[in-house]
Amino acid sequence: MSIFRLGEQRPPEPQRIDDGVVMRFEHVYEVDPDKMRTFPQQDMPAWDTRRIVDARWDHLDWMHDHFADAVLPAGLESETMMPEEMPSETPGREEER
């Protein structure tokens, strides 16, 4: 169970990934806030980021299932990135509520 505490909703400080991308939550990319000076960002508490990321993965799973009974994997790893460079198996996806 997750108890809501306002103090815990503030997102962590960003770590730089590249020129335009930072990361606050593990495996969840975000835009460099400096690029959002003309069109400002919203106040987005941690629970909301979580909700969106989980919803996205559920939606993609749903789309697969909508079109076919099964997805056939190639069963091959990425050939462009080393295993240690890969984000986790389902980036950003946490245990759902």
Binding site: F4, P40, R51, H59
Partner: protein, 418 residues
């Protein structure tokens, strides 16, 4: 481009509104893809473009361009249950909302427009009356003509010997305190069975959420301030919110009112229950021989991403045959009971519920289980016509725990008191 003065000379208010919401509006308008339309429960019924989340945003841009004014669109904005399907499904949220920290916020836009309607003399008659009655009784008028009075706000708990006050407060909303008391008694007794210590408020006012949803911001805030003062007065640290509508008010609206001063922990009823069952503090020993399907309440599934805990609870009940429908498919489901829709457009609410129950009927079940008392009212009415029993999750769990719940599903107790 100016012009609108309105009956109260309020062009200024509309300009300020547009200024505040134009970024949100352009975020949608520049896109205008309408991925929201087919998941919107109102749109599924009316098929009228005026009621789309797209239109709700486009109107703000249209106001900016001097094409229309709040009076022209006031009726359109009634057509929304604030279920959150659109804003979640919108690719601006679903695919890039977390990346940019900028997502679609149709619920906020609709609330803000309704507030503008109130401020400019364009309020809806049904909303007006509803909130006048709320202002008087501090509970929503959930009993028709009978006033839900503070004198009777704890009557649902008769015989349960629940104290007042303490560190953990059980918040009991209007529908639960006066109408579907079986739901409330089930949950309270489950907590007692698990040995959870909790108390009630000294003065239980409405959370204020629905008032805010209908645009009555001052009224909403006053109720919030009262409730928080009550919590502080009894030294409360944690609030248990069984009703999803309250959970949203306490985790979204209240932080907005109180800022960093807001020190309370908010626990969602169904998640707490799931944990208590998992820890073995509640044993479910009595089989419940029903074939059920689960209705994901909008304010749990779409608005908060809560969909696993209720299913875990259902799967813990012995004897149950559970035919599930996944939570993504249920983004387009709704009871039609939220956002003030039943107050102004009861026929649309009834049709939305009829369709929801029809989907359940298609699964060959005898029971539709929900986890939100506000949804259960219109769903129950539709359920009667389809011979499907609509029950709350807590009621089912209590039955399986061998608890003799008491209370009533339709405020009969209150009616007897007339």
């Amino acid at each position: 481009m100016d012009a609108y003065t309105g009956p109260n000379g309020d062009g200024q208010l509309q300009r300020e509104f547009v200024e505040r919401w134009r970024d949100n509006a352009y975020g949608c308008f520049s896109s205008g893809h309408k991925f929201c339309r087919e998941v919107c429960p109102v749109m599924q019924v009316t098929r009228n473009e005026n009621h789309t989340p797209t239109a709700f945003h486009a109107n703000v841009v249209a106001m900016e361009k001097g094409l229309l004014d709040v009076a022209d669109v006031a009726d359109d904005y009634v057509h929304c249950t604030q279920c959150g399907a659109c804003e979640l499904r919108c690719p601006n949220t679903l695919f890039t909302g977390d990346f940019y920290r900028h997502r679609t916020r149709t619920v906020d836009v609709v609330k803000a427009m309704r507030a503008l309607m109130v401020e400019t003399g364009n309020e809806r008659p049904g909303y007006k009356l509803w909130n006048e009655r709320l202002a008087e009784a501090h509970s929503e008028p959930v009993l028709g003509d009978v006033v839900p009075s503070q004198d009777h706000v704890r009557d649902w708990a008769d015989g349960l010997e629940i104290p007042v006050g303490g560190e953990t407060i059980l918040f009991v909303d209007c529908e639960a305190a006066f109408y579907r008391t079986s739901y409330t008694r089930a949950f309270a007794q489950l907590l007692q069975r698990a040995g959870v210590e909790f108390g009630l408020m000294r003065e239980q006012w409405c959370c204020g959420g629905p008032a805010a949803e209908m645009g009555y911001m001052d009224l909403a805030r006053r109720h919030a301030e009262h409730n928080v003062a009550d919590w502080r007065a009894v030294g409360a640290k944690r609030i248990i919110a069984p009703d999803p509508h309250d959970y949203i008010a306490f985790t979204e609206d209240y932080p907005g009112y109180f800022g960093d001063d807001y020190e309370f922990e908010i626990a969602l009823g169904v998640e707490l229950l799931a944990e208590l069952i998992e820890q073995g503090r509640i044993e479910l020993t009595k089989p419940v021989e029903r074939t059920v399907t689960y209705h994901d309440p909008c304010r749990l599934n779409k608005r908060k991403g809560v969909h696993k805990a209720p299913r875990d609870v259902l799967r813990a009940i012995p004897g149950l045959t559970f035919k599930d429908v996944d939570r993504v498919t249920q983004w387009s489901y709704c009871s039609g009971g939220g956002g003030g829709l039943p107050v102004e457009k009861p026929a649309i609410t009834a049709e939305i519920s009829r369709r929801r129950v029809e989907r359940a009927a298609g699964l060959d079940v005898d029971t539709l289980v929900s986890a939100c008392p506000w949804s259960e009212r219109p769903l129950s009415e539709a359920g009667e016509a389809a011979s499907i029993d609509v029950v709350d999750l807590f009621e089912l769990v209590a039955e399986s725990a061998g608890i003799d719940v008491g209370g009533a599903r339709r405020g009969l107790v209150a009616e007897e008191r007339r």
